[in-house]
Symmetry: C2
């Protein structure tokens, strides 16, 4: 159940009540594809970096260890020892981006596993059954994420099928939630809006799925190649046709800048692999822009990544130490940076929520966007390298 606490313009401040606790929104979900955050973060670490929702990937867990195994082990929460909310994606995006020899039919998608080439079929019912086995808090509908540059007729057909699939998802989820041996009988279902960059298709689709009374609504198919301006435009056009009293989730987005812009346009759920991936490559976020810790200027820098940051990494370790760990190929380097980056995103969301609470969202957003452009440390060395 979503409770809209406050709005500033279109920006929403909400509370989403789930069987695994209340999610304060806007929220950034931390991606643990295979039921673990890449970079050796444990569920215990997640608790320490202000993570509210963990996101696991249905396709990956179906392939390995197998959703039936996870069900036998009591579901994802017990499996990964995390008792707060978990969202599972539908597998759709991975089927379209990772899998090989893909064939889309009305019943679903035939494809080969990216791990062992094994033939797999996944349709709406299969995706719901897998997610029910995983017993996540929130399941995502099985959709087609059409290519950003797909032509109008392809997108029209694809969206119409996605709508038919959504109805089948809802029917199957209702059925699964009523079964005796289902682990989470209150599993929630979010629908996904598609339509590439065609405003009218997006709006028409938003209207149709809004009538289906789902637990939340995602905007999918963005951040797949279109410009930031196109993305913001689609959000602006679509959000007004999604129910305001339900969560709105912008899938796979994005940078801190993207998040601030999308919150302003009415989004309150986010997820992205960016902070963890960047962390594994020594790129860390600060309110003054990103730093590259491999940079020689940090060799003797005994200060934390960010003086003001309260994450487990910044409270204890210096840039010089982390840089050394990367150079020495110590796994700890990645863990420290991923912890910092995820904390940075989770903390950004906390600050965004406070700023809405305190009627200072626009000022906060302006301040942060200006700060991110500074990147003072790295700019200095960039200039220096150029003159050398």
């Amino acid at each position: 159940m979503y409770k809209l606490l406050k709005t500033i313009g279109r920006a929403k401040r909400g509370e989403f009540h789930t069987p695994h606790g209340v999610i304060q929104t806007p929220v950034f979900m931390n991606v643990g594809t295979c039921a673990a955050i890449k970079g050796a973060l444990s569920s215990e670490d997640l608790e320490r970096i202000k993570c509210q929702v963990e996101l696991s990937n249905t396709y990956h867990l179906h392939v390995r260890p197998g959703d039936e195994i996870v069900k036998k082990l009591g579901g994802l929460h017990k499996f990964m020892a995390w008792d707060k909310p978990i969202l599972t994606d539908s597998g759709g995006f991975q089927v379209f981006s990772l899998a090989q020899l893909r064939k889309i039919k009305e019943e679903g998608v035939y494809f080969s596993s990216h791990i062992d080439g094994r033939k797999i079929f996944m349709g709406p019912e299969e995706s719901m059954r897998i997610q029910s086995n995983l017993a996540s808090t929130i399941a995502m509908a099985f959709d087609e994420c059409a290519p950003a540059k797909a032509d109008r007729s392809y997108v029209e057909n694809s969206v119409a099928r996605t709508t038919r699939w959504l109805k089948r998802c809802k029917t199957e989820m209702d059925r699964l939630n009523s079964l005796d041996d289902t682990i989470n009988k209150k599993q929630m279902l979010f629908g996904i809006n598609q339509g590439a960059v065609f405003d009218d298709i997006r709006i028409e689709h938003a209207k149709i799925i809004s009538d289906m009374d789902l637990d939340g609504y995602a905007i999918g198919g963005l951040a797949v190649g279109e410009s930031h301006e196109e993305m913001y435009h689609v959000i602006e056009q679509t959000v007004p046709y999604l129910p305001q009293n339900k969560p709105t989730y912008l899938m796979g987005v994005g940078t801190p800048e993207n998040i601030l812009e999308a919150v302003e346009r009415g989004i309150d759920f986010f997820d992205c692999v960016l902070p963890a991936r960047n962390g594994r490559h020594a790129h860390v976020y600060t309110n003054k822009g990103k730093l590259n810790l491999l940079n020689a200027r940090y060799e003797l820098d005994d200060t934390p990544i960010d003086d003001e940051c309260q994450c487990p990494t910044c409270r204890r370790y210096s840039k010089a130490y982390i840089r050394h760990l990367f150079k020495a190929k110590e796994m700890l380097a990645m863990r420290l940076c991923v912890m910092h980056n995820l904390y940075f995103f989770n903390n950004l969301m906390e600050e965004i929520r406070s700023s809405i609470d305190n009627d200072t969202f626009f000022e906060y957003k302006k301040m942060r966007l200006e700060g991110f452009k500074t990147a003072e440390n790295d700019k200095v060395i960039y200039k220096r390298n150029k003159t050398l």
Copy 2:
């Protein structure tokens, strides 16, 4: 300062007072070669797994990031954010095992770095200077670790040189500790007994170095190819000629069995890469023997590695989850197993200390040795696989 609290037979229970706190012995030191435990463990993790002493490698840190850098950053303790004792080895063992194009001379050893082939010279004075820059709690003397199968005349010459080197180490360490800009002016120095498997050379050398009034004494050159029986024999022969009122350190050893046998023979410091390396390969220790978590029988095993273990891994995660993490190539797998294994060793030492305190060491040793032989879980599957 070492305080001998109690003995049972030759087994010692001691307290070693250092500028970075008191070490309760017998103790197992946790090896963090490049100032970090391999497997993404942080110094914060070390505090949680009962680690008393961290061990870093002089040679590795000299090559990268460089001991001058570590000194500028305030020494190893500040660098890795660990305020308890740190022991650094002398670099000698790595020079003899890792480095290329090695030439041993009276002044020291000429060799090429294993990382970039750079020519390096290291002698007793260089080793002391590097360790003084690192500012560890305990420095080890620069010695030659002669091959286990070296002939008598080679070992005689080598040990005589190691004795001359030890005198130079002590002179240089005294000088360094008196300098104004030395970080740890109370750095301690342990001498190293050598002599391969020749009892009389070992004993003669032990007598000579015992007279030098060092802070502690190590037995080096074992666990390099000789049998366990030969190793135990050397310890039995040598320990009586080392001062009882100083720590005795068996370098690079070993298995839980080795440790119990060596404690009985008067050893109170240990270190070994085994638990961390085994952990990274899914081999975990229990009081009923080692388990291989990759084993198919753990696919649905929702119990911890060891029901009785209080480590951060066993308190929260199941064998099935850890096995999945290994299969999915998630770094977290290694971290969870390394944490468990190091905790197992640190906890074993705590139990050994209690058993000496309570006059039950021999009973405790017997019980553990019998338990280690059980390995019930893995034996079952081993048999099963053979009949299949």
